[in-house]
Symmetry: D2
Subunit: 425 residues, 4 copies
């Protein structure tokens, strides 16, 4: 069936294959009147572009985006925004000998089972290039969110056994009381003194460093030392003709309380779907995630606090999770919940993690079968990333932005008074 | 917005609050002509019924289901099946003093933020009783699946630090080559000798024991020793006026290869949404899940194998993951992928795990705020489960069944030849 | 598949059969905080209740509605509102002999073709009683719309050859300049003098009479003379053991300009679906409808006018179609378009007409076949309306209300500035 | 919100504006394994191409389609098919002076009301060029339907007062017993003798002529004389600087009984939405449509007949409405219902009519207002069709094909036995 659309009010529909003529996305339902140009989108696409470092595939694609509709005189019109990226560097012959065999860890076999045949060139529709449409659409969602004061940031948390220092991570530095639990590793960071914190509970220099590193290191790690260690680890894996897995994390700041719908359209449920739909993701965690299963209730519950009352005695503890706008000065002392209670945002930072399997394409000989069911030895050629995570980070950020924005749009009129406010005579 | 519906062709819509008159579900799109009676559904509801053991709330509800429509002369008609369960044991006064305060870990605050006010009695719509509709609908989905040779089974994997012995778990016993990796604990089980295995790679007696235990132990653990240890651990937690978390697992057997749709409607993406939408679930894993992030590709890839060729040398290894029907005798030597590649089933067993937080209602005094933002000390009364997992297991099983069946229905005509087969003159 | 749900944000799901235990509806996505009680809904249900006059079936049903969820302390909570109506007067034996034959004009044959068998009692799910859920849900939608200043009113326009006098019709009286064209009959009414008009271009006494008549005459005609003629015509048809068709009309006042979405989610497209989905409706017209096909552009175009400028010279002409709020003092001189241009409301009155076939159940002997394909003569017993229109009028009103409200909800954030207004810090 | 998608399993998403860079459509959910090339699609696009006769706009567009994805080695892969048509002949300056005024009958005003501003060039998204995506997608749907033995044919029924001779129309010639009622005009045709009829009740030569005329006359009328009269009428309208309306009709042959879903997803409800969503359509009729409102039940009911029994005496009467496959030799003696009972196809020919308003762009001076609300006189320049119908006929055909195919896909598994047949081991 039609599986290439996502979202209800802000709806994206992606298309295209690894070795087809082009890939793209239709973004339908974007609010009208927002300034938008190709550079807004290109900046995001460049973050997933291949060939930019030693740890990505050497396939050369400029991945230039073209806006074909939905923008007039520099502003969104409210009608569908069609975005296209031409493929340039297809070397289909790399895949000729894969035509009749099933690569382990890839979708070759399942596409054949489902459709009776497949476009075998570079994985066809199951290729990582499919995410171009997601990223282009996510760039637009992120810009809408920015205009509402909501920011979405993803980064690499670990590659193989190498994890970032919790004190270097956006979430961990900024929120000392929550960080200790949200990491599956048990490393505690020393709490920052309050003089180091700005209004949002984060030192400006730390914030700058965090952003600069996650956007510029080849691994997308916001930690220079971990980045270096991970690069060495990746180099070793390449020499071994092997690949490695990793973990990425995404945080949403500034989201008001009250976003998400009960029961099936919970914010965390939709985030789980959005993130699990990214190829190679095998686990999704919200807040402290897996760690909650061995907790006691007395440890895991986040106390609500009054910002005003407690700020005198312990400002760093609660300031970062203050909800402020939504219901006055109510915050949480910790954020094990990752900003979501009962499927609805609580005004704290949203925290999501995704665990990514190693690239299935490795250069070592592998045992598999061909379409006739005969066992063969397979040696994969072509150009492949030794790790998927660094290029998937921006995809996670974009899927999160799309999901959060759509939740804000569908929930805009949850209260009768909101509806009346909009349609007041 | 409307968040109480789930599914595309097989669509369920649930309704009802903890302390309202009743709860229920509409199951629309169920294929016509299937025998169905109230007992089919009651059997599932009884598995989530409260008050059945020391580790569940003592609220007494008979939770009797009534079929109001959609079944005629004992068979489904294809039109909506309306199911209702009356509430009987509401003690709303238990909640009077909670009216104006926000319980930590509950959705009180977020419902107020979203809707401006809330039904505070027992959590209202955010109560665990909301799952009655899911379970009633899931019973129907499971019966349709059974008629297609597909079985869905969930059970408790761990409670607090107590895990079942991998050799006692359905997945681990049945699939020795995959079990070692799918457990986050590193305990290996001795492989069974081939003489102990039936055609599906599982000894009949083991299968019987597994089913009996998961359905009869108070913890839903398919391991008598672990069940006992967990019961002791729970007893201790109760004495401490505390609660505990845990992990549950669900396996799907008999699902043909080719189910699920690429990109956004991937089978794992929809399962992640379905399971994450269950209250208290904070993480979802597919196959080896979190563990893949520290793997090498050479370890994590599942080799495809020809059943015929390899069966002579190592039958127990591949028989359990034989795809058989879909594409001839092609199987996988291991199942790290949990039966899904590229979002589409590969014919192997589907494996999903969910991590559940401790019950947020604990009897210890807790720090929180009231609706005015004033800090208060809260002492919760009422009747609460000390652990959510055992009663959530059947909910996970049901959400899985609904998701898998809907994927089979929407994907029924992926190939033109399937469509032609149905509509042939 | 699941065909019993309608709407995106305000979503209704109906269930139930003519001779089952009960019928009902889930209303999901209703904004929170609106006062709602059973009487609000009962008032609408009473308008479609059978047995109230000589021209409806003599089946006696009290059709009492019960609210089972979604309302707390007299207000909607934002969660699903479950409504149930018990069947009381099923006489299934009336239908025993119909079990194996296909009634002309009914859905017996097509249900068998689709599902393989059917609930033959009273048409099962294809019965007119299915509309109970629509009406109960529509009562809620109408109440939300009322709070936004939008009113929806339906009435009978014709029964057989008997039409209401255009000057007695809500649309025609109220909007003299548009009325002449919106009627397919060519009867002109003398324009009212401006002194007879209130601010909305309608004399208060006329408005009162119109409302009183459409709600109290057995035919739902807002014209006492036509009602009498139609009653005589119906009496004759009953004596002939025959049934008759008719036409109903619905008008929406107060809808702001800008509601509806381009291309496929046009307001008129969704209204057409909503109204055509009512059993027995065979044609839907918007504005002047069928009549446009023989028009010239110079006749059919509605001129935009400035209310201020022209009001001095010809106030009665434009006041009724003033858009006012949306874009200042812009109105239309006529309303051939029925208030919709390019699928989006233009601030004028919305006008929809539906043509309803004669009740297929007639007492004359008819030629048909049984399930074996043998030709038989059929004589229908039971209790049937000689005309469907009067009881369908409230169904049309309700489906219109649901459609319009949902369009207002999904379109609430079409402009970025609306979104920012709602989420402003 | 997102309004540019249509369909559930076979889902299309269109994009593009009249004077943007390009227009296109994503067709998602097309079954895999069907041969498809650009010429299949181009043949349909050529039918809506402008500049092909004296009665269409002189804007010159080659409207060449390019397939960008979803087709591999000449066959559909099951993944999204992206189709693009570049705009070539935009003369945006034609519209400069329209930037600030609201053209009567157009969507200028409503787009401004909804979005705050608009792309004023050629109507932007509300232009008739938007239908390029619908036609390209419909060509694919039609090809799938053809492989299932279902054909969809639309043609012009009337232009202004000029109607085709009922005996020349596909529906009227082919189905003498039903034709007399399905026309709103009261002209009867002499019944054909049975020797003139082929198996489907249609003389081959008549069928050929019908198809040739509807596809080749400038008016798309399947009647040479009416075409000539209509051309003369149009010429006169052009000389008067005016435009005219008309009526188009679409028939579906070969559709099995049982397609469509009860209540809200009725086949006629979805057809009504599909057709009403085409710009300028103001009324939709199914079967005898408007005419039913003045009928008696005894006239309007279609008797079911046994084909075998009655064929000896009156073969021409029932052969055309034989359902054959679905439920043995059961047919209908007439087809007032237009092939749909209770929202589900009955195996007879599906008949839909749409009434189209005159082109709102006329060259006569018109009264309107500008964005400031000031009244102005407007004289429209540019290139416009004097009648919309001939170019809309193929759009109606395509929307019908998309709707019918999607209904066949979503209903494929209405019976449990169909599901079991597909997934049988």
């Amino acid at each position: 069936m039609a599986g290439s659309s996502f979202g209800t009010i802000f709806k994206i529909t992606t298309w295209g294959e690894s070795h087809g003529k082009a890939l793209g996305v239709i973004v339908d339902g974007c609010p009208a009147g927002m300034e938008l140009c190709e550079e807004d989108i290109q900046a995001f696409l460049d973050r997933r572009k291949p060939g930019t470092s030693a740890v990505t595939t050497q396939r050369k694609e400029s991945d230039r985006v073209e806006i074909l509709s939905g923008v007039f005189e520099g502003k969104t019109t409210g009608t569908p925004i069609s975005l296209i990226v031409r493929n340039e560097s297809q070397i289909s012959s790399d895949y000729d000998e894969l035509k009749e065999c099933y690569r382990p860890g890839h979708a070759d076999f399942t596409f054949d089972a489902k459709y009776g045949f497949r476009d075998h060139r570079g994985g066809g529709r199951s290729s990582g290039r499919e995410t171009i449409g997601r990223v282009a659409a996510g760039a637009i969602a992120a810009k809408v969110l920015e205009s509402l004061g909501v920011s979405v940031k993803a980064y690499t948390k670990s590659i193989g056994p190498i994890s970032i220092d919790p004190s270097m991570s956006g979430i961990c530095t900024a929120r000392p009381n929550t960080s200790r639990q949200c990491s599956s590793s048990a490393v505690d960071s020393a709490p920052l003194s309050s003089s180091e914190l700005d209004d949002s509970g984060l030192t400006m220099s730390t914030q700058d460093t965090f952003d600069k590193l996650r956007l510029t290191t080849p691994t997308c790690m916001p930690d220079a030392a971990a980045n270096e260690a991970a690069m060495a680890y990746l180099q070793k894996a390449r020499e071994d003709q092997d690949s490695v897995g990793g973990c990425m994390e995404c945080i949403v700041d500034g989201l008001p309380a009250g976003i998400g719908d009960p029961v099936f359209e919970k914010l965390d449920a939709n985030l789980a779907k959005a993130i699990m739909s990214i190829g190679a993701v095998k686990a999704v965690e919200i807040g402290d995630g897996v760690a909650v299963s061995t907790r006691k209730g007395s440890e895991n519950n986040d106390s609500f606090v009054s910002v005003t009352d407690s700020s005198a005695t312990n400002p760093s503890e609660i300031s970062s999770d203050t909800i402020g706008k939504a219901l006055g000065a109510i915050g949480k002392a910790t954020n094990h919940a990752g900003g979501i209670l009962g499927g609805i945002s609580d005004g704290s930072q949203i925290v999501i993690r995704a665990h990514v399997k190693p690239t299935p394409s490795i250069y070592q000989p592998q045992r598999t079968v061909n379409q006739k069911g005969e066992e063969i030895e397979l040696q994969i050629k072509g150009r492949h990333d030794p790790v998927i995570v660094p290029r998937a980070v921006v995809v996670m950020e974009c899927m999160t932005a799309i999901t959060v924005l759509d939740a804000m749009l569908v929930g805009a009129t949850s209260k009768l008074e909101s509806l009346q406010k909009l349609y007041e005579k």
